[in-house]
């Protein structure tokens, strides 16, 4: 059988074998010991033609309910936002997507400059000095930040608010295990980090305090109060932040954050079942040389022309090996590019407008739920998510909503048994008044 990705003809093969000095390709595998040779064919499905495979996979894709077939009120870390058409056109340019990491700056100025621009946009949004070229996702970026704080302060304990995304907390635990770091979870009060509890836990053993802003419940955490608690202490202040919210909210950098991380999925990246998205990592000048991952810097070439290179590589695994600041190598460059295009498209005006629209719609939904007699659980300021108590199985409710064309909110019982009946509802700028009205009606109708 012939394969369209394999160009060698029989004649080619013959000439090459002669050059190599063997009669069969099998001879090139003679160094594989007999005992470990596979003496059968791999048990895989037969090769499939392009049209056949496309047909089959389209059928599989069509089995999946998605945010194009249904109206979604599901968020909890992954959001259904407006994606400008230019995003996919840009990342589909194969000079970008079929390139490796830009190791050769002379032929990689496009990628390098795009990353430099991404770094700048992240610095602007977070109000931090330095941002890297991307991390796998928000939660692993947060876990790396936690590890960095322990290395930097030489302390082995971190405080994480329970209002941080539960999967982020899980990832922090997994990473901390490797470094022997103790993770203490701090309770919340009415959906916001309990500042008194935090204060009680704070002492000279604490490497860092981790807060999410807006938090997992959609509430705007009082960063100023946390800043006051950690001020003048060696304890570092780490904030995980939805970068879209920073179009309207005061950036963590203005509250003295040492590290700000998050995920830029909100800018031009489809949900695609949870990945790949794109982590960002921003920090202070002081921690620049401790930053994980790749950094692009501006410089000049021999003729004095401006250009860009990968820089401060002495932090990285390929140079420092076991002494590197992180083991990360590949990151999420193409998605960082997607987010750069989306952020450029929004621009200085659009980012604020989009954040504002999210807040408007969320507040409208909140009012509608309340008018319907439903309890909106937490009372703090919110961004684009809120928790309602439907006093009903959220899973069952979602099944019913599905029939009506909706993907319902997140069932908080999945993360805490005490939250039975609590639904985390996300309302983004692309939800219309009508969609919100009908959704509220349907929820109301089902829970009676």
């Amino acid at each position: 059988m012939e394969f369209r990705y394999l160009p060698m003809t029989k004649e080619d093969k013959q000439e090459m074998l002669e050059k190599v000095g063997v009669s069969r390709t099998e001879d090139l595998f003679s160094d594989i010991p007999k005992q470990v040779r596979l003496n059968r064919h791999l048990n895989l499905q037969k090769p499939t033609s392009e049209s056949q495979l496309m047909k089959e996979l389209t059928k599989k894709a069509n089995k999946n309910v998605n945010v194009k077939t249904h109206t979604s009120f599901l968020g909890a870390g992954v959001y259904d936002h407006y994606i400008p058409s230019i995003v996919d056109h840009t990342i589909s340019r194969s000079e970008f997507y079929t390139a490796y990491t830009p190791y050769q700056p002379e032929i990689s100025q496009g990628e390098l400059q795009a990353i430099f621009e991404f770094q700048t946009m992240i610095c602007e949004l977070t109000s931090m000095d330095v941002a890297n070229s991307s991390m796998y996702d928000g939660p692993t970026a947060l876990a790396e930040a936690a590890n960095l704080s322990a290395a930097q302060t030489k302390r082995k304990k971190i405080l994480v608010s329970k209002t941080v995304h539960p999967e982020s907390i899980e990832v922090i635990h997994s990473y901390a295990k490797g470094q022997g770091i103790e993770v203490v979870e701090v309770d919340h009060k009415d959906g916001i980090t309990d500042i008194n509890a935090l204060e009680n836990e704070l002492n000279d053993d604490i490497a860092s305090v981790i807060i999410q802003y807006p938090n997992f419940f959609g509430q705007i955490e009082p960063l100023e109060k946390v800043q006051q608690l950690v001020a003048d202490k060696k304890t570092m202040f780490i904030v995980s932040s939805n970068p879209l919210a920073l179009g309207y909210l005061t950036p963590p950098g203005e509250f003295g954050a040492d590290i700000v991380v998050g995920d830029t999925q909100v800018f031009g990246i489809p949900s695609q079942f949870g990945g790949p998205h794109c982590g960002y990592f921003a920090t202070t000048k002081k921690l620049m040389r401790k930053t994980p991952g790749r950094l692009v810097g501006q410089t000049v070439d021999e003729d004095g022309r401006r250009g860009f290179v990968l820089t401060l590589q002495a932090r990285e695994q390929h140079i420092r090996r076991d002494k590197a600041t992180s083991n990360i190598c590949s990151n999420q460059a193409l998605n960082a590019l997607a987010s750069s295009v989306a952020m450029s498209s929004l621009g200085k005006q659009g980012i604020k407008q989009m954040a504002w629209l999210n807040m408007q719609k969320a507040h409208y939904a909140k009012r509608r739920f309340q008018e319907k007699g439903m309890e909106v659980v937490f009372s703090g300021s919110l961004f684009n998510e809120l928790v309602i108590n439907v006093k009903f199985s959220v899973t069952d409710l979602n099944k019913a909503l599905l029939e009506k064309g909706f993907i319902g909110g997140f069932d908080l019982e999945r993360v805490d048994k005490n939250y039975s009946g609590y639904m985390l509802v996300a309302i983004t700028e692309i939800r219309t008044k009508e969609e919100i009205d009908v959704f509220v009606e349907e929820v109301g109708a089902h829970i009676g």
Binding site: R93, E106, I220, Q272, Q332
Partner: protein, 485 residues
């Protein structure tokens, strides 16, 4: 390539220009400022560019023309497996039912996606000879760390807390020792012998009851198959350690041999290498891990399982090392890999390895007279040359790499692995035609000749690129990592 002076997107910015198209407010407006403590309302707007849509399109089109991918030309970057990235893969992941599903949808609404993931898990288990696979890790390095955390959990479950060391060969990729550190181990080096393979005597010397694992790439980063793999497995296993397989080089052996059959306990794969996930200018990738039965219970959770009629996630895994990534891994890259595996089947994948190895050997034998070949045996999918001879003439491997740019090639990986002086690591991959290989060979021979007759030409290359060699020293000494007006 495009013009030389290329403004930043910020330098196109002009107040009042926009490119966004947001919906109108269709709900009664509330005064948000009333609802939020003033301290949390942003006062200084972020300086994102104010540009029109066409300006953005021209900007990024221009940037793309200042970049080089596999679609632009030959890319023999060793260890990176820069093969063709099939277009159908890109079409499949863009289907709404794959790209627009939310990870928290009820599993009954995403059975098509779960089926693809499940089939991929099974295919990867079969290709590697492992018992179970998790698709959670985001990239190779992430898979390494995940694997080492499982090995750590395994030893701890045996009440064995003294296994603090991970052995890595001197030829290992940098992520191996780095991952060992992040997983809380101490990395110790085992030397290579004169044949470029792990020195068994040295392995016996470093192995002991403090050995948690040996991390091995096979074929190794010199492109050589570790022939004594069974002996090595025995040494490590008898000492109580576990064997870790860095699958970045799987492209050489598919259908010929399997890590599981070689005695490996944990494997990670780079789907963005062997299985055609595009590199994207640095990512995203996907780094699934496979394990033997013994280690399966430590896999990250959740685990995707098949029940009677449906696919479900199993969160009830008391021995799991926990979650290593939000949601279920880089689904988008996994779907591409699945599409590729289905395109090729067992027969195609074996041919992939056959030609990957033939192409590398052909190139190696065509270049060995002009460049030092430190290890003369057949190679697998890649090989490493040394620029020692050229260095004596004043031309360094870096210069050769830069000279290749003038001929329209992406250079090989250089100065890696570390155990070869002036290393050039060349991986042609199976998707290149003989004409392409011959073109590159001839260019390499021409450069070798230039080195002899006119070394300055090579030393001062490149000449045809939009920028010349960059001042990297100043970049690191006085870092400018962001644009400022």
């Amino acid at each position: 390539m495009a013009n030389q002076d290329f403004p930043l997107i910020f330098e196109h910015s002009k107040p009042g220009r926009t490119s966004f198209s947001l919906p109108e407010l269709d709900v009664p407006e509330v005064d948000v400022a009333e609802l939020i403590n003033d301290v949390y309302i942003r006062k200084t707007a972020p300086e994102l560019p104010e540009v029109s849509e066409l300006e953005i399109v021209r900007h990024y089109t221009g940037l793309s023309r200042r970049n080089y991918g596999v679609d632009s030309g030959f890319y023999p970057l060793g260890s990176c497996t820069m093969k063709y990235n099939p277009k159908i893969n890109e079409d499949v992941i863009r289907l709404d039912g794959f790209s627009h599903i939310h990870p928290y949808q009820d599993t009954s609404t995403v059975q098509g996606a779960l089926e693809v993931m499940y089939d991929l898990q099974c295919s990867l288990a079969e290709i590697t000879g492992m018992d179970e696979v998790s698709l959670q890790p985001a990239a190779g390095a992430h898979g390494e760390w995940t694997g080492l955390m499982m090995i750590r959990a395994f030893h701890e479950a045996n009440d064995d807390f003294n296994r603090t060391k991970v052995i890595v060969p001197d030829s290992a990729h940098g992520t191996n020792p780095a991952s060992a550190t992040v997983a809380g181990f101490q990395a110790v080096t085992v030397k290579s012998n004169e044949r470029g393979l792990v020195d068994l005597e040295d392995l016996k010397r470093v192995v002991g009851d403090d050995t948690a694992a040996l991390m091995l790439t096979n074929p190794n980063t010199l492109g050589l198959f570790e022939e004594e793999i069974l002996e090595m497995a025995k040494i490590v296993h008898e000492a109580g350690g576990r064997l870790y397989y860095d699958g970045a080089n799987l492209n050489a052996i598919m259908g010929y041999t399997r890590p599981g059959d070689m005695g490996f306990d944990v494997v990670h794969l780079n789907l963005h290498k062997t299985f055609t996930g595009p590199h994207g200018g640095g990512g995203p990738g996907s780094g699934p891990v496979g394990v033997s039965k013994e280690l399966a219970k430590f896999l990250p959770k959740p685990i995707l399982k098949k029940n009677q009629n449906s696919f479900v996630f199993d969160y009830d895994r008391p021995n799991s090392i926990g979650r290593v990534k939000p949601y279920y891994g880089n689904f988008g890259i996994n779907v591409r890999a699945y599409t590729y595996i289905r395109t090729m089947g067992a027969e195609g994948l074996k041919k992939v390895s056959e030609y990957a190895v033939l192409n590398a050997n052909y190139m190696m034998r065509s270049l060995q007279d002009e460049y030092v070949l430190p290890y003369p045996q057949h190679c697998k999918h890649e090989f490493v040359l040394s620029g020692k001879t050229q260095k004596k003439l004043g031309v360094r491997t870096l210069d050769i790499a830069k000279r290749l740019l003038d001929f329209g090639y992406h250079p090989p990986t250089i100065y890696f692995p570390l155990n070869v002086e002036e290393a050039m690591m060349i991986e042609p991959t199976e998707t290149e035609s003989k004409e392409t290989l011959d073109g590159f060979i001839n260019t390499m021979l021409d450069i070798a000749n230039e080195t002899k007759v006119n070394p300055e030409i090579v030393q001062e290359a490149p000449y045809t690129t939009i920028v010349k060699r960059m001042d990297e020293t100043t970049a690191a000494r006085k870092p400018i990592l962001r644009y400022k007006k």
